[in-house]
């Protein structure tokens, strides 16, 4: 479970990019975080994962405060950043082994999981190549495999579908569903509202740093008394 309590962040004094956010992402659901560019999605996710410090409020991951017990909290989640340009000089397998070493994944588990996931995502034959030679989608896949490798309870994914081919995108959605069905948490941001509508159990809409709506898609339609698509409702919310 992930909890954000009264979280605020300002890069420049008195100019909050995220303002007083309260979210509770329960176990066993896929939670979509949607909003226009510059709304504060990535800032929120980066505070959630310890990349950015929190100006006000607190963030708990499975009850562990990310600021007070960062190491403990970081073991509880896996994060896919918005840009997968990481460790370009390492080969795919070296990167995954590094992640395995950092998270203490044993040799047998690594062998099984990496082989299966790399095959599923179609990058098995590229594992011994350097990441700098990968396409954007392949980089995205290797980072996703890195996250799935240590099987964290909470998945935090920032625009995970960007650059993925349709097959990989479908597989990732399946994996997200499987993971949440096992009672785990998936928190992901997306621009693709169709994806959010199809797979999310709950969504939060953020605009100009403030949460405009939290609930299911049905609750959103009820609130607006409309049978419109999520895309149309989303536009109404941010124009409000």
């Amino acid at each position: 479970m992930i909890e954000l309590k009264n979280v605020s962040k300002a890069y420049v004094k008195n100019k909050k990019v995220v303002e007083n956010i309260n979210l509770k992402i329960e176990d066993g659901i896929i939670f979509g975080f949607i909003g226009p560019n510059g709304a504060g999605k990535t800032t929120t996710m980066e505070m959630l994962t310890g990349i950015l410090d929190i100006d006000e409020g607190e963030i708990l991951i499975d009850g562990i405060n990310i600021e007070k017990e960062p190491i403990k909290a970081k073991k509880e989640f896996g994060f896919v950043p918005d840009s997968p340009d990481a460790f370009e000089k390492l080969t795919g397998i070296e990167y995954l082994n590094f992640i395995g070493d950092v998270y203490g994944v044993d040799q047998k588990t690594r062998y099984e999981r990496i082989s299966k996931l790399a095959n599923d995502f179609g990058i098995y034959n590229s594992l011994k190549d350097r990441i700098q030679g990968y396409s954007h989608g392949m980089k995205q896949k290797i980072v996703i495999i890195g996250v799935l490798l240590h099987n964290p309870k909470n998945w935090i994914l920032d625009e995970p579908m960007t650059g993925l081919d349709p097959k990989a995108s479908f597989q990732l959605k399946e994996l997200m569903r499987e993971h949440s069905d096992k009672g785990n948490t998936v928190f992901f941001s997306t621009h693709v509202l169709e994806v959010a509508e199809k797979i999310c159990d709950k969504i939060a809409v953020i605009d100009k740093g403030k949460i405009k709506f939290v609930g299911t898609c049905e609750e959103l339609r009820e609130k607006w008394k409309s049978n419109s698509s999520l895309e149309e409702l989303f536009l109404k919310i941010i124009e409000e």
Partner: protein, 549 residues
């Protein structure tokens, strides 16, 4: 083309300070001015001493040529990396190549940027020596006008010539498959070609001690000796030597014409061979060309503890990136060992074998506090040649974001970041200690061991302070590894730090009369400073890492 040049410039040189407040920006500017001023002042001081010494042997004008020669050699060496990285391995290429921009426009914009980037270096290293020389020699304003023209035009020939060689090599190389190897090999080939060109332009007399002595005895003999070995230097030299005469004007015009013609002709030639190599360098690499039947075995998944895994990742990133490897391993470690260490060892061994006693004085002094302080100062100077720690965070680039999410404490990451620099500079410490031991009239194990401890402690302190400096203002969003190294003004803090350390070490000579006591004192002070930094980083790790994304 003007707009394109501007865009390339802004993209490369704007600092990552969008989130800094005004006070922080002013403070950064202030520190920059202080460091710039310190380096310029040091150059001015050295120039003052050298000019006066040359006046004593009636060779004063040779100063200008020595300083210009050093600058040209420096510009040629830098332009090898500049041309390769700016023209071929810069990340903005992917954007520019898909735009309707002619190769000639792109090449000229990139080369203009390379030329402009050398001006700061020229201002720092060349401006103050020329001014000091001008004041001592009481020259008139024409000398300064010619000097300004020379400063403006000097980087052109080294940059376009090196870029042309680079472009030709890249045109006929399969960049796509082995980018790293191509970078290493290209750098090597360019150095060889530049060596050949330089020797072709020399007089062909060859260098001998007889010629050297004979020339030195002549008035301005040193100038001629230098100019014989560097053809570009001749018109510059003559324009400054005879600035009051018509030949001075003719020579400055010749130099300006040479530079401008070289710029237009060579950039045109580069543009003719540029595109294929540039496209090759931007392609990610096709999987079809690679191993198509990978079979991973359980041995490929060996586990290591997180500390070893982290260190291994750091070393792989350094070794596999040519510019990192050059600046962090080859220049600071291999060059001193090969070009300084081994010849000195050979000289000492040779002198001893033929019973020469010219080291006797040095041997007596080496046991005194001044001998130890000189050794420590040499180590400090060699330590700052190593950019491993000053770029420890910046090197990560976008990976820095991911490193903040892994469950390894930031304090531990700080410690692990010290190891590569510690390994490289540790080798320097071993070499200096070995020299010290070898120089001693009678081997004193305690003294040698204490010196080694001091050198290692000093190295550790240096690495910690450098990582802290990089943490304070990391350059994470770079367009290429080379631009990160080159534009990282943090490197200047390293020089500033070294100056302070050397001044403090020099002061100890006046306080201590006993070498062992001095070494124990230094060891104690360094131990306390190291412990204080550890404690500071442990307590403030979250704040320190705030600037990293």
């Amino acid at each position: 083309m003007k707009e394109l040049t501007k865009v390339i410039f802004k993209n490369a040189y704007r600092r990552d300070n969008v989130n800094k407040d005004v006070t922080a920006k002013i403070l950064s500017a202030f520190v920059f001015v202080i460091i710039f001023g310190t380096i310029s002042s040091l150059m001015a001081f050295a120039s003052y001493r050298l000019t006066n010494q040359l006046i004593e042997v009636d060779q004063a004008p040779a100063f200008i040529n020595i300083i210009l020669l050093i600058m040209i050699v420096f510009l040629f060496s830098r332009s090898v990396f500049e041309s390769l990285n700016n023209l071929y391995f810069s990340k903005d290429l992917k954007i520019f190549l898909r735009m309707p921009i002619k190769p000639l426009q792109l090449v000229r914009s990139k080369i203009k940027n390379m030329i402009v980037s050398e001006y700061l270096m020229e201002l720092m290293l060349l401006a103050s020596p020329i001014i000091i020389y001008g004041i001592i020699m009481n020259v008139n304003y024409i000398f300064y006008i010619y000097s300004a023209i020379i400063l403006l035009l000097l980087p052109i020939i080294p940059i376009v010539l090196t870029s042309l060689i680079t472009a030709t090599i890249m045109r006929f190389t399969n960049v796509i498959k082995n980018k790293t190897q191509v970078q290493y090999i290209t750098v090597f080939i360019i150095f060889v070609i530049l060596g050949i060109i330089t020797s072709l332009f020399s007089t062909g007399e060859g260098f001998s001690t007889d010629i050297f002595t004979e020339r030195m005895l002549q008035v301005n003999g040193l100038i001629e000796l230098i100019s014989d070995y560097f053809v570009i230097l001749k018109p510059i030299m003559n324009s400054l030597l005879y600035y009051q005469e018509l030949s001075g004007l003719i020579n400055i015009v010749i130099f300006a014409a040479e530079s401008i013609i070289c710029y237009y002709v060579m950039t045109w030639l580069i543009s003719k061979v540029y595109l294929k190599g540039a496209i090759g360098a931007t392609i990610n690499g096709s999987i079809k060309d690679r191993i198509i039947d990978v079979k991973l075995k359980p041995e490929d998944f060996k586990t290591r503890n997180s500390k070893i895994a982290y260190l291994s990742k750091e070393l792989k990133q350094i070794i596999r990136t040519p510019i990192f490897c050059m600046q962090c391993i080859i220049f600071p470690v291999v060059f001193p060992v090969v070009f300084v260490g081994l010849p000195v060892f050979a000289l000492i061994a040779f002198a001893r074998s033929i019973g020469l006693d010219f080291l006797a004085d040095a041997q007596q002094n080496i046991l005194k506090p001044i001998g130890v302080v000189i050794c420590v100062c040499i180590a400090q100077v060699l330590y700052i040649m190593n950019f491993t720690s000053i770029t420890a965070i910046s090197r990560e680039g976008k990976s820095a974001k991911l490193m903040k999410t892994i469950p390894i404490g930031l304090y531990n990451q700080f410690r692990y970041k010290l190891y590569p620099g510690l390994i490289a500079n540790g080798i320097i410490a071993i070499i200096i200690t070995a020299f010290y031991g070898l120089f001693m009239p009678e081997f004193n194990f305690i003294l040698v061991l204490t010196l080694f401890v001091v050198l290692i402690e000093l190295c550790l302190l240096e690495e910690k302070i450098m990582v802290l400096i990089d943490l304070n203002a990391p350059k994470i969003t770079w367009t290429s590894e080379y631009t990160m190294m080159k534009e990282n003004v943090n490197v200047m803090y390293e020089f500033f730090y070294a100056v302070i350390v050397i001044i403090l070490l020099a002061l100890t000579i006046f306080v201590f009369r006993n070498t062992t006591v001095l070494l124990i004192f230094l060891s104690g002070v360094l131990f306390v400073l190291n412990a204080l930094i550890n404690s500071y980083v442990r307590k403030n790790q979250a704040i320190l890492y705030k600037r990293v994304y």
